[in-house]
């Protein structure tokens, strides 16, 4: 039997042209081809491959690239996450107005659709890139890398990345940011940190926004902080109202502190000079 095609032709010179059909009327039946197309008695056709591959590995590699690129340019990136309507864009607009002329700032806006938020940012004079994720529920490091291509990064500046409004999906996706800031408005429940623990566990700072509405809502600042600390002992907390401007100074100080820490963390550059 021919060991290549399994036919009964013992002549070694025969071709494997396959003009003969493999239909039922040929009297030619194929067995032993198996799932892999070949067969060896006693051996299973399937095999096991041990991987141990991180499913987020690709995103994390892009995030590392972004981080290296940002820090190489002396730029701090902040990933702002929250549920829709917490006031992220208002906070950003007010922050940009106050930083204008002192620190170079640019913004990456993530939304499923529209460029409304980027338009609001550009109205302050800051450059903004809008990423529309389509049906996507979060930004990933690859998208942010492309957005960074379109921004000029100036030494000592900030890039604010406004993630898609969603307290669930952005949690697992590192974008290459220096710090992650979760914004919780007081019109939401103070138990949100327990309901959506992942995003609070992965954030460096929690901002309690719309604090001017506290007298009108059943929101306990103490409870919110205690809940957040239960999922993340190290989380820092600021309370402010982006609309009235109360507490914004604390936020600007926090940003300034972050920049000081970044400069302090790069003594090797100075030593090399």
């Amino acid at each position: 039997m021919c060991t290549i095609c399994g036919c009964g032709n013992t002549n070694e010179d025969h071709g494997h042209h396959h003009d003969h059909g493999h239909g039922d009327n040929t009297g030619h039946l194929h067995f032993g081809a198996g799932e892999a197309g070949t067969s060896a008695p006693g051996l299973s056709q399937s095999r096991l491959i041990r991987l141990e591959t991180d499913i987020l590995g690709k995103n994390n590699a892009f995030a590392d690239q972004n981080r290296a690129r940002l820090s190489g340019n002396g730029v701090l990136a902040l990933n702002l996450v929250s549920s829709p309507g917490s006031g992220k864009t208002t906070l950003l607009v007010e922050t940009l107005k106050r930083l204008a002329g002192t620190v170079p700032v640019s913004v990456i806006e993530g939304d499923q659709q529209t460029s409304n938020d980027a338009d609001r940012i550009r109205a302050t004079g800051a450059p903004a890139v809008q990423i529309n994720t389509g049906k996507g529920c979060h930004l990933d490091a690859h998208m942010v890398g492309h957005a960074l291509d379109r921004l000029s990064m100036e030494e000592g500046g900030f890039v604010f990345i406004e993630n898609v409004g969603n307290l669930v999906c952005p949690a697992g996706f590192d974008l290459g940011e220096s710090a992650r800031v979760v914004i919780l408005s007081v019109t939401e429940g103070d138990d949100k940190p327990l309901k959506y623990p992942d995003i609070f566990a992965k954030s460096d700072l929690m901002i309690l926004n719309k604090a001017d509405l506290l007298p009108h809502v059943d929101f306990s600042v103490e409870a919110a902080i205690s809940h957040a600390r239960r999922v993340n002992r190290k989380i820092q907390v600021l309370q402010l109202s982006a609309r009235t401007g109360d507490g914004l100074a604390g936020w600007l100080n926090w940003l300034d502190g972050l920049r000081t820490m970044q400069v302090a963390a790069k003594p090797s550059d100075l030593a090399a000079e």
């Binding site: 799932e35 892999a36 056709q45 399937s46 095999r47 096991l48 491959i49 041990r50 991987l51 141990e52 591959t53 991180d54 499913i55 987020l56 590995g57 690709k58 995103n59 996507g136 529920c137 979060h138 990933d140 669930v168 999906c169 952005p170 949690a171 697992g172 996706f173 327990l194 623990p197 992942d198 566990a201 809940h227 600390r229 239960r230 999922v231 993340n232 002992r233």
Partner: protein, 113 residues
């Protein structure tokens, strides 16, 4: 539903691995999904079936293992099992727990032909 994009990442990994290890079809994918990994196993299963359609892993079985999550209690210094990030220490009741494992999200093994 970020599980969908995680399934797309899994498909990328399978394709890369197929080129490296010379296989044409995936019959089974074994993954470890830690209880603190921000992934819902049912959503991952749903996304897997949808994303793998028409690929080398169409019809493949997804086996999800859930390795236990552990934390170090900073009060009694014992390593304890936790199920959620806000669990308290089952031994001393302290809230000062530092999670040490349970965030795994990886492909452990493939069965291929």
């Amino acid at each position: 539903m970020h599980e969908m994009s995680l399934c797309e990442s899994m498909l990328d990994i399978l394709k890369d691995q197929a080129a490296r290890d010379h296989f044409s079809r995936v019959k089974r994918v074994c993954v470890d999904v830690g209880p603190l990994s921000c992934v819902e196993p049912e959503a991952l299963q749903f996304g897997f079936d949808v994303v793998m359609k028409g690929s080398l892993a169409e019809g493949a079985a997804l086996e999800i293992s859930r390795p236990p999550a552990e934390a170090l209690c900073l009060s009694c210094l014992e390593t304890v099992a936790v199920r959620q990030r806000f669990d308290t220490c089952p031994l001393c009741g302290s809230e000062a727990l530092q999670v040490t494992s349970g965030e795994e999200l990886k492909i452990r093994e493939l069965e291929v032909v």
